[in-house]
Symmetry: C2
Subunit: 337 residues, 2 copies
């Protein structure tokens, strides 16, 4: 099937770009050194491709992602890099044979892990981002508490998410060094083999971790484009122009707020880069005809979302494309909670 | 089941508020005078409740919504209030016995309707919003063209979406009068019994239409709150606090970008109205502990999204609640395209 035969809006993954991104990252972080973050793509088919490239340990953000990965036979080493109190579903995965590790950063999350049947944890350490993670000073105490509750403590994790978007490379490097020094302090107190952290934005500046948690590099956000990273945007949407108002100077395509993550702003039209996006409605994108080239009702356009992760979460499937050919369809089967 | 036993994040509909909104609107726009907009809730169960209140004609924004409504036995009079070129699926609904009307605003959309097996159309007229709709002057010509193509023209539609959020009532009324004068001109040229338009924001200022297309009033956006409308917000999310950082002064709940429509900005915490939302990540909401009252790991909070429609589209189900009791669960079964 050709891309222009797809029902629109359709979410497209450029397979050659995806594979190039996998290879580039895999050369620097081979095998188990990389723990790809499933939240960035929510598809067991894409995860399977990573496993075929030697990455068999994965990182998840939700219990549903953990369940789906285990059900797909990708449960060799699943880390829920997030705090959770509702742990019985994780215990069921352990029972069924998956290796499950969960992040903990407090007594209640430790108690929940133990009570739910989870056996392994990482101590989640706050390294500067105002989100989850204990104080570095508190990590040793929590590790003792976890061990006393019968849990194996595999090590620590800490996400320098406040730094991954810093455009100034020197500032980014200095920030990462400082954040990872906090994580190292915590690791000294905690013990274990794992120091997990990082992300796409710090893939080549974080040299302190034993495994990189990166997901965005696969489909790649435009926001990261300013960092000069070697990963290429691989996600677009095919849309159809359904209305053209020549006197008014605008066109309307059938892709809107419910097909696009909007927290980073409007999408762009990649195959008509000089065309201006005016606004999005639920199921519409209104754009200026000026500088858009030839546009008629029925014209296809290619739209790039401003934020990949919440875009993917709106869609049931990824159409895998090479040029204008649809070569495969992958279910986005890890949505929901 | 009680709300605090639900897996979080969970999307909640307050049934009493929903019913109050249905009654208030139904008193002003009874039966077929109201054509509720399915895009605002994407659930056939909620649509069935509207049908039980006498509203058996519905408005949809996508072909998938049309298909799901027909499959649920709610196909008495379905309007796709949107332009579409991929019409074969609509023709299949007609074959299966649904009444299908589609908006057209150009020769290609008329041709597509006829070719796809659609039998009835409305001429979609642009009344000021830079989106779909023909020029009012062109409506008569398009109606002739549609009839020549064998289509029954039921009338016109025109959506004054540029006016529905105007806070100044007099300005809103004047704008609606002007927009509807354009629609009336078009209707004179087109003929037919239907003049369809309006929305929640103009429910009591649009006196020119034969049927109101309104959906937001059911679950109600906070943005409309400024208009002083008599509809109450009925949609919230239950979330769990998963991490608390007292020295830093923040808490983290398990509801983020993938559970919230973000194009209108951050959500609010309705049961802790003085607490400040700092930011949302994919699966997290970070908020200030200051003025948040007592917060511990495990505390439940209630979050109100800034925009209802794209929030609902992220979720598989609506939990129907009365106070703290979950009294029903409705599938959000009209997602996708």
């Amino acid at each position: 099937m050709r891309v222009d035969q797809l029902t629109t809006p359709a979410l497209l993954v450029d397979l050659d770009r995806l594979d190039a991104n996998i290879s580039t990252m895999g050369a620097a972080w081979p095998g188990a050194r990389l723990r790809p973050h499933v939240k960035a793509f929510k598809s067991t088919e894409l995860a399977r491709r990573l496993a075929q490239h030697g990455h068999r340990g994965f990182c998840c953000a939700t219990v549903r992602e953990m369940e789906g990965m285990a059900a797909a036979g990708l449960g060799d080493d699943l880390l829920l890099a997030n705090e959770v109190l509702d742990t019985a579903r994780l215990g069921a995965l352990v029972e069924a044979g998956a290796r499950v590790t969960v992040a903990v950063d407090s007594s209640p999350t430790i108690d929940a892990a133990a009570a739910g049947g989870v056996r392994e944890v990482l101590i989640d350490v706050n390294v500067g981002l105002p989100r989850c993670g204990c104080s570095p000073d508190d990590a040793g105490r929590l590790a003792d508490e976890a061990r006393a509750a019968g849990l194996a403590v595999r090590g620590v994790m800490g996400y320098e998410g406040h730094l991954v978007g810093l455009e100034d490379r020197a500032a980014r490097e200095a920030g990462v060094a400082e954040a990872m020094a906090l994580l190292a302090t915590a690791h000294d107190a905690v013990g274990g083999e794992v120091v997990s952290g990082g992300g796409t934005g710090t893939w080549d500046s974080n040299r302190w971790i034993t495994e990189l948690q990166a997901g965005s590099y696969l489909l790649m956000d435009t926001a990261y484009g300013r960092l000069g990273l070697p990963f290429e945007p691989a996600l677009t949407l095919a849309a159809t122009v359904i209305s053209v108002n020549r006197p008014g100077g605008w066109g309307v395509a059938d892709v809107g707020l419910k097909a696009l993550g909007m927290d980073h702003g409007n999408p762009s039209i990649v195959d008509r880069p000089r065309a201006k996006v005016w606004f999005c409605s639920d199921e519409h994108l209104t754009f200026g005809l000026k500088d858009a080239g030839e546009v008629d009702v029925g014209s296809r356009i290619r739209v790039q979302p401003a934020h990949v992760d919440p875009t993917v979460a709106y869609h049931e499937r990824l159409q895998v494309v090479r040029g204008d050919e649809v070569v495969d369809t992958w279910a986005v089967d890890l949505r929901g909670w």
